[in-house]
Amino acid sequence: MIHPLIVAYATMVRREVLRFSRAWFRTLLPPMMNTWLYFLIFGSLIGPRIGTMGGCPYASFMMPGLVMMSVIVSSYTNVASSVYSARFQRYIEEVLVAPVPRWLSVAGFVTGGVIRGILVGLLVLAVAACFVPVSFHAPLHGVLMLLLSSVLFSLGGFLNALYAGSFDDISVVPTLLLTPLIYLGGVFYTVDVLPPFWESVSRLNPLLHVISVFRYGFLGVADAPLELSYAVTLLLMVLLFLWAVLLIRGRR
């Protein structure tokens, strides 16, 4: 007999996966389209004029950053929109009245975001493979950071949804906070090219660490020590998880 909590968790995950897969043309297709455009413009048209970055051809350098950007945005928006919809239509009650610990409720929503993030990451990687040769320097680091970053940003989306007072609020945070952090986190360049002051500031950006480890998994080049990047990511993940559980416990 399956433990009731496993059944509950599987039900939450199933519902989340069904939710985003029903609207695949809105959830899975746009990141592929964006990546195709990025590679067309920055990879094929502008990339050859830039030459190399971090010792790699520009298009190859950019590829892990673009994949990670799609993973981060997809994980974040999936959980943010799912939890906010559940709050708005009040069907979050279905989970809250059930004999399920609050941490498991958070885990259920977050897992949905993780699955979408990883799925989008794989699809974007497939698009990237049409433009650049894909090779793996340290695949375990790549896979581990793919997982950790999707968990981290799913938790971010969860918190955003709990604080949001309207649908606008769940798009404001990605636009005003997430997008600048992604663009300044080394998707398109290595922080070595920045002046010393801005290089130091960039190292405070948690997204730089996520992208750095992920790029290391493909190309063997990193903007920060791997141990530091893992520590920053794990610490943020634990803090956001505790914050999310405390918030959902302390409702009304």
């Binding site: 059944v7 509950a8 039900t11 939450m12 009245v97 004999p99 399920v100």
Partner: protein
């Protein structure tokens, strides 16, 4: 062991105290009604019991499980049908019900069999593949009940379960609720239909200003009314000088106040007849419970 024990329950939102020390005990197998005006604290009380709202102070136990010390065991006993239709607008009827069962740890294959039976009983089987936003108001209410029942609750909490349903659907739901209660399920019901309380509940309480203002069996509460308001249908128009008031129902109708302790209803009719006023029929202006409730709580609208 009681199905529900509430002691000194208080809840404040900011500075406003909504519940001011509610004490309530509901025995196993009871069908219990909770009455109160809008804003009296009914939904807040049910929300705290079912784990949706955090209390400020007091204790709540469901079948002996404290909602503080054993919240999962307490919630496992409860099936909730909220006042509003709180399900995803984009899921099918079947998915809503099976998901709720899943959240309670019921495997999908078992839940599917149970859902078949409930859908048939509540006339939802023809809607099972439809998205919930396509349902009528009555079907949505039945879905709320199906979702609460699929988890096989020992305590079924129903917050205005028949609001917006037509008379036939309401009576069909009453029959189903009676069946559930007869099978051992304890039911806690709030409603604005006094007839519903009179038809279904053994005991009821009146919640007023955040406290239990009165509690007893339904006949006890109705009998506390004393005077009743009657509507009389007359053979002819109302004759001036009689202890009757005109009724908005028409010229051949009149209203009067009747106190059973001052004489029988027959005496009243005979007395009117002797004064030239023939009474064709008599009925109560409102249910006795409703009359009592309105008098007890100051005649404000529900």
């Amino acid at each position: 062991m009681n199905a529900l024990e509430i002691r000194g329950l208080r809840k404040s939102y900011g500075g406003a105290e909504v519940l001011k020390g509610v004490d309530l005990t509901i025995g196993q197998g009871e069908f219990f009604g909770l009455l109160g005006h809008n804003g009296a604290g009914k939904t807040t009380t049910l929300g705290i019991v079912s784990g949706l709202i955090r209390k400020t102070s007091g204790t709540v136990s469901v079948f002996g499980h404290s909602i503080d010390d054993a919240p999962l065991k307490a919630r496992a006993c409860i099936g909730l049908a909220s006042q509003d239709c709180t399900f995803s607008q984009f899921e099918t009827v079947e998915e809503v019900v099976l998901c709720q069962a899943g959240f309670y740890g019921i495997p999908r294959s078992r839940a599917r069999q149970e859902a078949e039976r409930i859908f048939r009983r509540l006339d939802l089987d023809r809607f099972r593949r439809q998205e919930t936003r396509e349902l009528s108001g009555g079907a949505k209410r039945r879905l709320m009940l199906a979702r609460a029942v699929i988890v096989r609750p020992r305590l079924l909490i129903l917050d205005e379960p028949t609001a917006g349903t037509d008379a036939a659907a309401r009576r069909s739901m009453w029959d189903y609720l009676r069946e559930l209660n007869a099978s051992g399920v304890t039911v806690l019901l709030t409603t604005h239909y006094f007839e519903e309380i009179e038809q279904l509940c053994g005991r009821a309480a009146i919640l007023e200003n955040g406290c239990i203002a009165d509690l007893g069996t339904v006949p006890e509460l109705s009998s506390r009314l004393g005077e009743k308001r009657l509507i009389l249908e007359l053979e002819g128009p109302l004759i001036p000088g009689l202890p009757l008031r005109p009724s908005p129902l028409g010229a051949n109708f009149a209203e009067c106040t009747y106190d059973p302790s001052s004489g029988s209803l027959t005496d009243l009719i005979v007395r009117l007849q002797s004064q030239g006023c023939t009474v064709r029929s008599v009925r109560s202006a409102a249910s006795s419970l409703e009359e009592y409730f309105l008098r007890r709580t100051g005649d404000r609208p529900l």
